[in-house]
């Protein structure tokens, strides 16, 4: 029983991480039709920014952790907004080219990170509490999972609030549903694009810092390896659906944990199998827009 609890909670923790990356991907795709391959690099850059700050401030304190989380978010948001403004905007409505540009950006940025920080993983330091465990119903749960879950919940609530209560949020919600009608109401959707990219980048940057604590290290490959799972989650949840991304993140992560434990490390394969099943039964994903 305690094993089940442990698997569930660690699954939720991993799911939180997936959600942080997938939420941005889903929104960006939903509103703009762009598949952002560079999203992984937003994450990696956020992670490195957080690490550099922690390195200078002394990694063991909570203040440092909070500061690095914030910095990761800000860096992610800025880089994402810049990407949209400088690269994506020029290719308005040319979806394939937009994807290609993000591919090129991903290649170039990972290589750049390799050059600046080297290809080997760099170990991070964190407040000692994170590496300790808390006992819940007999299971010893590593504390960093709680941080992840907490952060993801805050981000989810934050994005939902933004979408519900702000004008930009209104425009984005309408735009995800019917972009041309929004334009026909006299609204310049392109401003919303930058905002959506920035939100996605912030979530990814935050996820990057958290990922570095979850895995225990930063490396240029960090974003790329998570990005693939984020893609799978986004497809399963339904492109463009924030709720779908949330549900799918949790489902995929928990499946992975259980499969790894009970089925001998086949977590990754089970996820792909789940993807195949979803594709067969419901190609647009759990909560996706009908094609």
């Amino acid at each position: 029983m305690s094993t089940i609890i442990l698997l569930l909670i660690t699954g939720l923790g991993l799911g939180a991480l997936y959600f942080l990356v997938a939420s941005g991907l889903s929104l960006i795709y939903g509103l703009m039709g762009v598949l952002n391959f560079a999203h992984g690099s937003f994450l990696t850059l956020g992670a490195f920014a957080g690490w550099e700050l922690a390195r200078r401030m002394g990694g063991e304190s909570w203040g440092t952790l909070i500061a690095s989380l914030l910095l990761g978010m800000i860096v992610g948001a800025l880089v994402a907004a810049a990407t949209e403004f400088l690269l994506i905007r020029r290719l308005y409505n040319r979806h394939i080219e937009q994807v290609l540009v993000t591919v090129g950006l991903a290649l170039a940025t990972v290589a750049l990170f390799d050059g600046i920080w080297g290809t080997d993983p760099i170990y991070v330091t964190a407040p000692p509490w994170l590496s300790q465990t808390t006992e819940i119903l007999g299971a010893r749960v590593p504390n960093d999972r709680f941080l992840l879950i907490g952060a993801a919940v805050i981000v989810l609530l934050g994005i939902v609030a933004f979408l519900r209560y702000t004008r930009f949020g209104l425009v984005i919600r309408a735009g995800v549903e019917n972009r041309s009608m929004v334009t026909a109401l006299g609204i310049d959707v392109r401003k919303a694009f930058t905002v959506v990219f920035a939100i996605g980048g912030a979530a990814a940057g935050l996820g990057g810092v958290l990922a570095s604590h979850y895995f225990g290290y930063v490396s240029p490959q960090l974003g790329g390896s998570l990005l693939i799972f984020a893609f799978i989650v986004t497809v399963i949840g339904g492109l463009g659906s924030l709720a779908g991304a949330a549900i799918a993140s949790v489902a995929v992560a928990i499946l992975q944990q259980f499969a790894n434990y009970f089925l001998g490390g086949t977590g990754d394969l089970m996820v792909v199998l789940l993807l195949a099943v979803v594709l067969l039964v419901r190609p647009t994903g759990i909560l996706g827009k009908k094609a």
Binding site: E177, S180, V182, T183, A184
Partner: protein, 239 residues
């Protein structure tokens, strides 16, 4: 129907000249030219699939097009859609296109462009919507959605309204409600109306433009057209 006092206008409110449009490489509008009446309702008629909706969408720049479009004497065809709309164009699309995942109030709020939206006018014309302000637009009936779509176009002080088949798929009683709302709207704003329901056209339109094969084949008085049974049958297929 009493004529409201008309301001003296020197240029047409909406002029289209040699408009060509295509969707996915297929030409749907060919060399269409016409001028809207500065006051009242101008009807854009024709059989199914003849290019009426495409003409409206082409005016707004929602589909690929070439040619001249002028609003109040100023050329707008080089501008992106949202700029054209900001000049004072209200659009009521075919199939309503309300945002199903937004509430009625949010649909209207989204459409608000200037500092003083016509909230009282909307409340007066569409009392039902005020009651349903918090309801998700996707759960409304067809007629109610049509009201939302109309209200969206009336919430601003627009200079022209482009209305596409507002009575499509609606029960006769609702059709009358919509027609009356349009009539009211047309008292202050000129309307370009695409409509299949000739009864509504008879009630509202002063001028009629008929399209066939993507081109203009009639441009003149609505009353004369609809009064001539043979002509109506020939151009529109139905009486």
């Amino acid at each position: 129907m009493t004529e409201p006092s008309t301001p003296i206008v020197t240029e047409s409110i909406l002029t289209v000249s040699d408009l060509n449009a295509s969707i996915d490489g297929q030409q749907v509008v060919e060399s269409v030219s016409f001028e809207m009446l500065p006051v009242g309702v101008t009807a854009l008629l024709g059989r199914n699939g003849v290019g009426k909706t495409s003409t409206l969408r082409a005016i707004l720049g929602l589909i690929e097009r070439s040619g001249e479009v002028s609003i109040a004497g100023e050329r707008v065809d080089r501008e992106p859609t949202h700029r054209i709309v900001q000049r004072g164009v209200g659009y009521v699309p075919e199939d309503r296109e309300v945002f199903a995942s937004l509430t009625v109030a949010e649909n209207l709020r989204l459409a608000e462009r200037d500092a003083s939206p016509n909230r009282e006018l909307i409340a007066e014309l569409f009392p039902d919507l005020t009651d349903r302000a918090g309801q998700l637009a996707g759960t409304l009936s067809g007629g109610q959605q049509q009201m939302v779509s109309l209200a969206r176009a009336l919430v601003n002080d627009n200079r022209v309204l482009l209305v596409d088949e507002p009575t499509k798929g609606l029960a006769p009683l609702i059709v009358m409600d919509v027609a009356r709302a349009l009539e009211r709207a047309a008292q202050t704003v000129p309307v370009l109306l695409v409509e299949q329901n000739l009864q509504v056209v008879r009630m509202l339109a002063k001028k009629a433009i008929v399209l066939e094969g993507g081109r203009v084949v009639y441009d003149g008085s609505a009353e004369e057209l609809l009064g001539n049974e043979a002509l109506t049958k020939e151009l529109l297929g139905v009486a």
